[in-house]
Symmetry: C2
Amino acid sequence: MKKKISEMESQFKEHRLTPQRRLVLEIFLENKERHLSAEEVFQLSREKGEEIGLATIYRTLELLEALGLLRKMNFGDGRSRYELVQLDLTEHHHHHHLVCLSCSRIFEVEEDFLHQLEEIIEQKHHFSIVNHNLQFFGYCKYCRQDV
Amino acid sequence: MKKKISEMESQFKEHRLTPQRRLVLEIFLENKERHLSAEEVFQLSREKGEEIGLATIYRTLELLEALGLLRKMNFGDGRSRYELVQLDLTEHHHHHHLVCLSCSRIFEVEEDFLHQLEEIIEQKHHFSIVNHNLQFFGYCKYCRQDV
DNA sequence: TTCCGTGCAAATAATTTGCATCGAT
DNA sequence: ATCGATGCAAATTATTTGCACGGAA
């Protein structure tokens, strides 16, 4: 864990890696599978017994996104959520999300199936793609009532 | 236009098609290519010289979505946007969106490329998909500086 | 000392809700 | 008379901002 954070320190050229910023990063590293909102980060920090202001969390999330360490997402629940950018994957690799309409859990599809599609779209629409967002909404294996 | 709305009336079984609701529908029919926020619908109705409360618009958008006439979308600009569901397309046909990071315009990709992909994912993840959302972020043909 | 970062509280912005009233059945 | 729909204002929720303080370079 510490190792991971120190690896990330190199990203903090102009910005200080303060205890608060480190705390937020830690929380994401300890919750890799989750997509946390500012409020949830706030709760998790309280559970760790750490003091941090909510405004600081918002500012930190914004900074970490700008540094490319977090990715801002929106799953339609009225608040922004962030996920850790997996540094070990190639820059253009993005996974997709399965959002359960019943339990709200979010599952990940590791493969990125959109390379070819992006090429087609770039040519056809003269649109230069830098990112994409693919979400599937439905019912997860725990919530499906069928069979 | 009137014809289109009367076709939609059949959807209003339990709900009255009031002047306000008709107005909101009209605005979407007159702006098929746009993805309107509640506030924008409010502005457009004022431009038409019609009186309608913003709260009513929010409630109407919610209703029209529940009736399957509008689709709620989120493009990451901090407000929900709605688009008209094209009734003449097959139920499972969804288009995709190109969101320009420079001018914020939204372009549509008419084709739905995700059928096969959905089948693969449904099997692999035991997830029953009922909807999806695919957005590409980048620079549109008007904003690209290259060449 | 000079900045940057933080916390708190106030300000914004989007959306929702309570409630009295209006209008169609 | 009843019940759904509306408008307004107040309430909520998420997020941002102003500002004084504190600590590191």
